[in-house]
Chain length 334, copies 2
């Protein structure tokens, strides 16, 4: 099959064997979204060799047979209740972390932090910028018929946006500042707006601003961000300057959520965090079921965020487009 392969920071289209993992679902990828992490991987942010891509929707073609299925315990339970065969032909999205089920993190209810985890297209597991991919059945969620592929492909980043509300109580009276309105920031803005909080978004590109305004979300300029006034600040730029803006905005005893990874080391003066008793919270992957609910109920419409869609054999061009500053979602069609 055709796949977008990463090796030594070089991307190439390759013809590789169709993946086959005993006990896992073989999924034909219908749409695969390019995430900031894909771009970071290609820049050498993390040493990964293989097929990149982890935001997708696809169709289950088969369950690879095995006398000794190596699925997780949750997968085994799923099989007992619904049977693997019932997945075949289903349109699905998939959680990206496959867990061992037995390490300290797994047994304490933190399987997304599994110590032996593999992560779709990121760590120890081929990804979705390809014709086919595989995942344990426990990772799959069926997509309701009312959710088109172009929306379903956003479930993974939309779940990541919702993770903020898994970690922090966002009160309707809160003044909330979102710094950054890129691929992930746009979704964070849309989920935070649903809480009724007093949200302002600091965007850095006219197209990002236009999309937020189209969704009825209020903007703010850097000059208007009052320092030490915001109950909750979400940093979604991943840049030192965005971090600095966010840090200065949060009020004493307020919360700063870091929604982006930061490449390399960043110099931070910690004393203001102590003196102002700020909570700083790292935030990563989130829950798929509520993300699917919000899409099915049309509470969030991500489709305007699609900037381009390329066939798989033009995946390198898709990556080039995604790399442009301020670019929103670029999709690859399987």
């Amino acid at each position: 099959m055709q796949a977008l392969w990463l090796e030594n920071q070089q991307l190439s289209l390759r013809d590789i064997p169709q993946p086959e993992v005993p006990g896992e679902a073989l999924i034909r990828v219908r749409l695969s979204g390019i995430c900031g992490t894909d771009l970071e991987l290609a820049r050498g942010y993390y040493p990964f060799t293989g097929v990149i891509g982890h935001e997708f929707t696809g169709e289950v073609m088969a369950i690879t047979g095995s006398d000794d299925p190596r699925g997780s315990p949750a997968a085994s339970r799923e099989k007992m209740t619904s049977g693997p065969a019932q997945w075949i032909g289903k349109r699905v999205v998939g959680e990206i972390t496959a867990a061992c089920g037995v390490c300290e993190q797994c047994t304490h209810g933190r399987s997304s932090h599994c110590e032996h985890r593999t992560t779709l297209g990121i760590r120890g597991r081929h990804g979705t910028h390809a014709e086919y991919t595989t995942l344990p059945l426990a990772n799959l969620h069926p997509v309701p018929d009312t959710v088109p592929d172009e929306a379903a492909v956003f479930v993974e980043p939309l779940a990541a946006a919702l993770q903020i509300q898994q970690q922090v109580q966002v009160q309707p009276t809160d003044r909330v500042l979102l710094v950054g309105a890129g691929r992930l920031g746009q979704l964070v803005a849309r989920t935070l707006a649903l809480t009724g909080c007093d949200l302002r978004v600091l965007a850095r590109h006219p197209e990002q601003e236009r999309l937020l305004q189209g969704a009825g979300i209020r903007l703010i300029t850097e000059d208007d961000v009052q320092p030490r006034r915001w109950d909750l600040v979400v940093e979604a730029t991943g840049s030192p300057s965005g971090f600095e803006t966010a840090r200065q905005a949060v009020r004493p005893r307020g919360t700063l959520v870091l929604k982006s990874t930061y490449r390399g080391e960043m110099t931070v003066n910690w004393s203001p965090f102590v003196v102002d008793e700020i909570s700083v919270l790292g935030s990563r992957c989130g829950p798929f079921a509520p993300a699917l609910r919000l899409l099915a109920q049309r509470q969030v419409d991500p489709i305007p965020l699609i900037a381009g869609c390329y066939p798989l054999d033009k995946a390198l061009a898709a990556m080039d487009m995604a790399r442009r500053r301020g670019m929103l979602k670029v999709l690859i069609k399987g």
Copy 2:
């Protein structure tokens, strides 16, 4: 009166006028404790000119009269209910921040973060390494007769230790690591131990270890600190190496409490905090009433932490002693 004066990073004993602030209590200092912050101030960590010192116990001598008392609203309420005269002759401890009562922080219940605050011996207000000091009545707490001066002088840092439990739910099942067992760390160890949590303390000096063992608190060596295994880690060294040890110890989705300020800028790689979804929490001053309760009930005995006590006219020698590595509490007797 005699006072320990700081100016341009130079400490000196000076004879200055007795303080007089309309509406505030004039307090004769009985004991004043040297805190790490005093040492940092003397090193130029913060631009302060005046009398340093903020941990104290003393006796109210007078309430300075005023036609227009500028006490905080809380102080006014206090006056209406008990009357200022009732404070005279009382042995007291005092909260170190005097608030304006009208700014956004004060009106939102965060008066210790008041935007116009003065802080005893730290910011805009003379401190306690002196014969006399002053504070608004609202800041005062009477000391129960059962609590000797040598314990009461620890109320301020003991309250700071308790602030951790104001901010974080410490569960009895939690594995808790405290990094640092100096002046503040010793008190943090004693308050955390009362929660029933599974506490280990990483100390760096034999005397610190001896004191912890005397209080029945378990130690751990750096080599035995398993990385990514601790539910809650408290950093109380204020050093980059202590921070690094603490950061590596905290488990995914765990909490790192920063109990010390950090001089200058510290280089931090933020990505692990995001990937592991760590909460980092700055922690500062705490509640006086429970600190007094714990002392009155003898749940915490800070007296073994006293390393030395100097008369006020030997305050410079007291500061020299306090500066020695691993030194515990040095007191100045008014």
